[in-house]
Symmetry: C2
Subunit: 394 residues, 2 copies
């Protein structure tokens, strides 16, 4: 087991009706004027926005609104938020939506504590020095941003998608009401589930063992394998929606990485890095992009640690057989079968992308930061490896 | 799944050498003068105390010392600590030891923020209104106090052992170095393991299901079942010691209770309540007391929910068979076998206690708070039930 740091201080209130606690909680954290940050019209149409405003008003918290956050949230919206918050004297950020809205709020928080352009932080020109307290009301089980230290933003000017990981941005509170995800369509439910599993897999697929972390990771993945089809079949299955929501939070709050190694990082993260370039270039749904790249990635790197993939196959996918490599392949196929069953792509074609040679070059060039970085840890990937995985994923 | 609140904000630094971070962390949390709180001579003899003093001095944190905390920590020592801290202007409490030392530090923290006698809080005459920031360096994997909201104190004047649960007392940081548990003797390692498992069981054995919580709980228990014998056989098995330590923290930080029900509480906790009276009256080792009472309790309450005990039997103890009641009994026996294998008692006689009728009466009378409370949730237990379980446990 490797040494580790674990700090997941987010106060979670989970269950029916918890979103009404927002105003009171913001008050408790010293907030007096909140940015109500959200995405599209569904939050308005469902009446959730009105309920949030009522909660703020009841607690005597003033507010300004900024909607229009899109999936793969844009730095332009973040800049707009920073300017609005400065002008209005906002001291608390309330994200109402999915991971895109929360990531956008976290970016605004970083930007408010930074004198330069917020994109500098996402280009890693310097590290965040502070943030503005942030809370969230979650409406989509997927990214785990509600408890994570992560914020990922896309820059529409250069097609780049970049993330910052820092404890500073962790939400002060997360209000998790599974009923708010009843209206999430089947495709988004499936993509969210693929994203949740990926957050655990990214940490799980690295060399060595760490208990109880590995066993917890396996339990979390098995839960999503069981509950995603249930939620897709019956969108108002409360226990299934609740399990996905809580599994999403736990899969990305750091728990599944405790004691795991990596190549100067905790876990592997190659699939996420490979997918970020796809999203940046083609604006695909993040979870679907992860699903589309996973099979090619796993077959490419598996020979570096067949025992690890065999453990996954046996403990998560229920594969039998003594031979590690055979079990590993069977496990990969079994997980791809699950993805297809919930309507997720298992290659780029099924994702709707046909890439030419130049696009393959560009993706690998960008993902390797112009040839200046490697990615992954279970097998360290150079620019040429990245290109090969993109090619195999077609 | 029931609604739940989850907040485990303790910053964890885990691994070899992390205890040296104490001074710097206390500084970061605004501490200028720390109480160095510890138990017996082992912390002194091992040189750990000197290293802690060096860490504090290097960070410019002044300190005063208070040793002598005993297992089942006493309110008299807590009162001594409160007086010392007031006199010396202490603003941070650093517990160096096991759960007893941490619980004692938490009690001092409560007492410093309370005008009356600290025992009032443990008698639940009023709720804690504040605390003094506390951190810990753990030397025993057992109680989970390093991340929990719990503090349990014994009053030697009346033989009572009482607990307070409140987020206010949660440690600001926990420094978890598994190597510091290498010298823990086999019996204490086993008792600690029984305590860790019990913290998960107390939440697991209540009606209904909650995923992923139930699966995580099962994974944690399985980890302890595997690692406790390893650590007993080879006390310097780092991975086994590390797994027990981290499982101990996760078993009592709230994670294994998320979404679980109870009878106005999260989980059951009857075994803990029954054991508290044993410890209060006879000063037994907490984990051993829990082990000694568990078999009688489980056979007494199992008919209220055979399916739950059968799930435990199948998913944790590897029991086969379709009949729930038969599987449940087999699971109880299998867990008792594990306890015996690691040298734990499975009844009061093996714990060294032979109780007469008056003592049985007194234990049930005290445990029911003079007949004013029931305990448990999978089966709610009145005073007469408690007496019967004590009797059956002989």
């Amino acid at each position: 087991m490797e040494n580790f740091h674990y700090c997941a201080p987010t106060r979670v209130e989970f269950g029916r009706g918890v979103e009404t606690l927002a105003g009171e909680l913001i008050r408790g954290f010293g907030g007096t004027k909140a940015l109500l940050h959200y995405g599209g019209g569904s939050v308005v149409r469902s009446g959730l926005l009105d309920r949030m405003i009522a909660s703020l008003e009841a607690a005597g918290v003033a507010h300004v609104e900024l909607g229009g956050v899109v999936p793969n949230p844009r730095v332009s919206k973040v800049r707009e938020g920073i300017e609005l918050c400065r002008r209005e004297g906002v001291d608390f950020l309330l994200a109402v939506g999915g991971g895109s809205v929360i990531d956008s709020a976290k970016a605004i928080g970083y930007g408010l504590a930074y004198d330069g352009d917020v994109w500098d932080l996402y280009e890693h020109k310097c590290a965040p020095k502070g943030s503005t307290p942030t809370g969230c009301v979650l409406t989509l089980a997927a990214t785990g941003s509600e408890m994570s230290d992560s914020s990922v933003i896309s820059n529409e000017e250069n097609g780049k998608k970049r993330g910052v990981n820092n404890d500073l941005c962790r939400c002060r509170f997360a209000l998790l009401n599974p009923e708010l995800t009843y209206t999430v369509p089947a495709y988004q439910t499936a993509a969210g589930s693929a994203d949740i599993i990926s957050h655990t897999m990214e940490r799980y697929f690295s060399h060595g063992t760490s208990e109880p972390t590995d066993s917890l990771a396996e339990a979390l993945i098995r839960t999503v394998l069981e509950m995603a089809p249930r939620a897709i079949k019956n969108p108002e299955d409360y226990d299934a929606r609740a399990a996905l929501m809580w599994a999403g939070s736990l899969s990305h709050n750091g728990l599944t990485g405790c004691g795991r190694g990596g190549h100067g990082r905790v876990g592997d993260w190659a699939c996420h890095q490979l997918e970020h370039e796809l999203s940046g270039m083609f604006d695909v749904t993040h979870g679907a992009g992860l699903a589309a790249i996973w099979g090619a990635w796993s077959r490419y790197v598996m020979p570096s640690d067949p025992a690890r993939f065999a453990r996954f196959a046996r403990n998560v996918m229920g594969v039998d057989g003594a031979d590690d490599t055979a079990a590993a392949f069977a496990g990969i196929e079994a997980y791809e079968r699950f993805l297809r069953e919930i309507g997720m792509p298992t290659n780029l074609r099924e994702l709707g992308l046909t890439l030419d040679e130049k696009q393959l070059d560009a993706l690998a060039y960008n993902c390797s930061f112009q040839g200046t970085r490697d990615i992954g840890s279970i097998r360290v990937l150079e620019q040429a490896d990245m290109r090969e995985i993109y090619r195999l994923a077609q």
